[in-house]
């Protein structure tokens, strides 16, 4: 049976072909094949969803979270550093840091990013590579302290580089011109080596920790705890929702004992010179000022020091990173003489009536020792004049009478040869020579001929400026040596060494030191009107004069100038040590000490005056005279 063709109109054209059944049964088998294929295809598809959704939903669920949940650190700012009056020395300023969110980072973006931000591509690539083994949510800091140009670049390219994350971070702002750089120190990103140390176990990679100075010593106090914000972001990096916030904890402020007024004057006085100034309150051990020159700019470290800058500092032959106040170990020269004098009196070797004659030199142990005024001489000298004129012959003689045992005992007593324990890292101890020391390190006995040079503060004796300030300050207050410290604390918590000195002996020495400044001694440059300044110069040799003078005496070989001064004579409240490297003579250091002392007492006067005015005003107000008295501007 034949059926009409699908379309009657087509028939004429197709009529030459043999007619065929036009039913669909011929294809039934093949349609069944198609149906089976359909079943298989749907089963195939279902198997795919079964594998993804039923067998591994956790795996993909986790990846979906990684996609959308980002952890952004909230920096906990470091505490500020304040001076003794609460004035801010180190503050934080807000700066922008650029992070790389590695979840969405693309390798090929690094180069244009590095170019746009003026960074070294290799450096950046290496930094990204270093964290490759860590989880993706760990971000990489691309650049800190973004300049306005950098910010503009980031803002303009956020669409192209969704991996860029801008966060605000508090940054350390240190005083300019390297002021107090050695005291404050600096911070930096924790290093790999430090991470291995037990002290740093609680810190994480990327944390900014103190590396030097107060920043290092009091890192735990100053350091804040970073918080974290967990946010949901979309594929463009836009924050859609905040899931959790761990608040950042601010670091605690730290109040130093430093007096900014005194410090500033000390800094200025040391301008253009190498050396150090230390000012202490001998009644408490509080450090009022501490300067070391040459200095460096801690702001260069505040981010990540450039290798060029770091090399410059390392290669500098003057070692700007050395805190000379606690790390310079130098011969104290004549500043040691007051201690020798005290030893002479205390041991009863001599009394204040004892005199000796200076003819410009003295022969001791087969060697003729010159006085510094040689070829002239000081004539016959009492102890008072011996100190005032810093006569070497007087102290050569006294020293050899005392012997090395007595000298080293009193050296130990005032703290030489041991660290003061100040709350700053890397303090050095200096050296107080003794028989025991000679035996231990040189395996030879002490020769009596070595004693005279120790007695004038030369030889193997070395001290740091801080040790000297503590030693003289302790004598000045009558035998109480308080531990120098940088951070304010109650007096009863300050360690103190005491020795029952005879007040008479102390008075003899102190009067001598008064004479140095006020009776035409070597320290007249330290004199101040209306203030009884006492002090002692020191001119310590780097090498024997016999060697230096013929060689022409280059700048490097000139003597170091020392001065240690305190005031007032009775109940001293400040002791200042100035070390002026290659200053030539102690009198040049005396001028520095005078400036610092003046700053201290000027301020004290001003404060007293202000307080008096205030009291008067309060009193006036109390009497009901408010309208008439007013508040007089303090002058």
């Amino acid at each position: 049976m034949t059926l009409p063709s699908a379309d009657p109109n087509l028939e004429p054209r197709l009529s030459d072909k043999p007619p065929l059944r036009d039913d669909t049964r011929f294809a039934a088998g093949k349609i069944a094949v198609f149906q089976y294929a359909t079943v298989i295809i749907f089963l195939f598809l279902m198997s795919g969803f079964w594998r993804l959704q039923v067998q591994n939903p956790e795996f993909y669920g986790e990846r979906a979270q990684q996609n959308s949940i980002k952890s952004v650190p909230i920096p906990g700012p470091r505490g500020r550093i304040l001076d003794r009056d609460g004035r801010v020395i180190v503050d934080n300023h807000s700066s922008f840091s650029l992070l790389l969110a590695r979840e969405s980072a693309k390798e090929e973006h690094l180069r244009p990013i590095a170019q746009g931000l003026d960074l070294d591509y290799n450096d950046l690539a290496a930094r990204v590579r270093r964290v490759r083994s860590q989880p993706k949510y760990v971000t990489v800091t691309i650049k800190d302290e973004l300049s306005p140009a950098d910010l503009a670049f980031v803002a303009a390219h956020l669409d192209f580089f969704p991996e860029l994350v801008l966060i605000q971070t508090p940054r350390r702002l240190y005083p300019k011109n390297g002021m107090m750089a050695h005291v404050i120190g600096y911070t930096g990103e924790i290093s790999e080596d430090e991470l291995d140390l037990p002290d740093f176990a609680k810190y994480n990679q990327g944390d900014v920790v103190g590396k030097f100075g107060i920043e290092k010593q009091y890192n735990d106090t100053l350091m804040g705890v970073d918080g974290q914000r967990q946010v949901v972001v979309d594929n463009r990096g836009t924050v859609r929702q905040t899931l959790a916030i761990k608040k950042a904890v601010e670091g605690k402020d730290l109040q130093l004992t430093i007096d900014l007024d005194v410090q500033t004057v000390a800094e200025l006085a040391m301008q253009g010179k190498n050396g150090s100034v230390v000012a202490l309150d001998p009644r408490s051990g509080e450090v009022l000022a501490m300067v070391s020159r040459p200095t460096f700019d801690p702001n260069k470290f505040a981010v990540r020091i450039k290798s060029k800058d770091w090399k410059e500092i390392l290669d500098n032959p003057e070692h700007p990173m050395l805190n000379r106040a606690i790390q310079a170990e130098l011969a104290p020269g004549s500043t040691f003489k007051p201690i020798v004098a005290l030893a002479g009196l205390s041991t009863g070797t001599v009394d204040d009536k004892w005199t000796t004659h200076c003819s410009g030199g003295v022969a001791l142990y087969g060697r003729y020792q010159h006085c510094w005024v040689s070829p002239k001489g000081h004539g016959t000298l009492s102890m008072h004049n011996g100190i005032v004129h810093s006569c070497d012959v007087f102290f050569y003689t006294l020293g050899s009478k005392l012997g090395i045992d007595n000298l080293s005992f009193y050296g130990d007593l005032v703290g030489f040869g041991q660290t003061t324990g100040i709350d700053l890292p890397h303090e050095r101890s200096g050296l107080m020579p003794s028989e025991k020391w000679k035996l231990r390190y040189y395996r030879t006995k002490w020769y009596a001929g070595e004693t005279p040079s120790v007695a004038i503060g030369q030889g193997a004796l070395t001290v740091t400026p801080l040790q000297l300030a503590r030693a003289i300050g302790g004598i000045a207050v009558g035998g109480k040596w308080y531990q120098p410290h940088m951070v304010k604390k109650p007096l009863d918590q300050v360690k103190m060494a005491e020795w029952a000195l005879n007040p008479e002996h102390v008075k003899t020495v102190v009067d001598g030191l008064y004479g140095v400044v006020n009776e035409g001694g070597t320290g007249v440059r330290a004199a101040l009107p209306h203030i009884e300044v006492c002090g002692k110069t020191g001119t310590s040799q780097l090498a024997s004069n016999d060697y230096v003078k013929p060689a022409g005496g280059g700048e490097d070989m000139r003597d170091n100038a020392w001065f240690v001064g305190f005031a007032p004579r009775d109940n001293p409240e400040i002791v200042v040590v100035a070390l002026f490297e290659h200053g030539g003579h102690g009198q040049f250091a005396a001028a520095i000490v005078r400036d610092v002392l003046k700053a201290h007492f000027d301020k004290k006067d001003r404060v007293t005056q202000l307080q008096q005015n205030q009291t008067r005003t309060v009193a006036a107000l109390g009497l009901g005279l408010a309208g008439t008295a007013g508040v007089a501007p303090p002058q």
Binding site: L14, T24, G61, S68
Partner: protein, 363 residues
């Protein structure tokens, strides 16, 4: 003949399923486009579906036999339109597929060409009046189909062009292409594939490479595949809930209201939802095959099977891509993906099936 037609004879099962799928699609489009530039997409889609129903009704009304008259004209018109698209088409997503027809409407010609291919193949195979398709005839027909296929591939739109070949292959198989020819075609394909590889675009190559190894470039070419699998996998058994899918809502999933709509659906409705939706699609295909069975003549059978093949191919490639079983080829999911051209084409195809069904009781 028209007087015998009755609305009762429309395949209501198919229509109901299709409307269900469309409803799920609209809901999913709404969910995927919240707070984006496309928030109006869901109601636009409703308009498209309404228009689609109208087009389906139109398509049912005209006897499919008389449609076959116009096959040569439609074919030439299609090729011409594709050539015009090639020259004046609007470029989007790196390919020229759309021609503006005024009033801001852009039509994707290649979608409608699918119907022309179905009509062309059905008429050609019927007119052969043979139970065994000769290879010579097969090659002629293939030549006719390859012209629009090549034009669409050139747009470039690999996915759509492959749908034409899918229709051709299924219908040729039904027409009695001998097994040895089927085998021969398979062998030739295997041989030609590496050569054809040379003619693919960089991005087409990239898609196939990333299908083989998506993790080789997770941020680049493998991105879509990986994000889609993450979306599907993280949906788990019961899904994250409507508008709760993170991959969809946070836009990690690319084109979540278009080609990857099934991925978004799988994330928010889980394996249970996927099973139900795939079952609907399965019943839909099977019902259309059933209509092919009951077709009054061969042309009707070919038309229905052409539509079934088209649908099955779309489902296989789109859903397979979403599940990571197929490489990324941008073809939409029938009745769900957002887009007027696609929706209308499938409603027209549905009209074609109903057209055949309404006339199944001739004689």
């Amino acid at each position: 003949m028209a007087k015998y037609l009755s609305p009762r004879d429309i395949d209501w099962t198919v229509l109901l399923i299709v409307l269900l799928i469309c409803g799920v699609g609209v809901l999913q489009i709404y969910s995927a486009t919240r707070d984006t530039d496309y928030t109006s997409a869901w109601w636009k889609q409703i308009v498209y579906v309404a228009g689609g129903l109208f087009l389906m009704w139109l398509m049912m009304a005209i006897d499919y036999h008389s449609m076959l008259h116009y096959v040569p004209a439609l074919y030439i018109g299609s090729v011409a339109a594709l050539v015009i698209t090639y020259f004046i088409g609007e470029k989007a997503y790196g390919s020229k597929r759309w021609i503006p027809v005024g009033f801001g409407v852009h039509l994707q010609v290649s979608e409608f060409v699918k119907l022309v291919i179905i009509l062309l193949v059905a008429r050609y195979l019927t007119e052969l009046r043979t139970d065994e398709l000769e290879i010579r005839e097969m090659l002629k027909l293939a030549g006719l189909v390859l012209v629009p296929t090549a034009l669409v591939m050139k747009q470039p739109d690999l996915g759509t062009s492959l749908t034409y070949l899918a229709i051709l292959i299924v219908c040729a198989f039904l027409a009695g292409l001998r097994w040895k020819y089927v085998a021969a075609i398979a062998v030739v394909t295997v041989v030609v594939l590496p050569i054809g590889w040379q003619f693919l675009n960089e991005y087409q190559k990239g898609r196939i490479v990333s299908f083989m190894d998506p993790e080789s470039d997770p941020q680049g070419k493998g991105y879509q595949l990986i994000q889609s699998q993450i979306a599907v996998g993280s949906g788990g058994m019961f899904g994250k809930g409507v508008t709760k899918g993170t991959q969809t809502q946070l836009r990690f999933l690319p084109t979540a209201h278009k080609d990857f709509i099934f991925s978004a659906f799988a994330e928010e409705h889980g394996f249970v939802g996927v099973s139900i939706l795939l079952s609907l699609f399965f019943v839909l295909v099977m019902r259309i095959v059933q209509n092919a069975h009951t077709a009054p003549d061969r042309v009707g059978m070919y038309l229905c099977m052409g539509v079934a093949a088209l649908l099955l191919f779309h489902i296989l490639v789109n859903v397979g891509m979403v599940a990571g079983l197929m490489p990324v080829t941008g073809i939409p999911l029938p009745f769900m993906s957002f887009g007027g051209s696609s929706i209308w084409t499938f409603f027209l195809a549905l009209g074609l099936v109903n057209n055949v069904r309404l006339r199944r009781f001739v004689n």
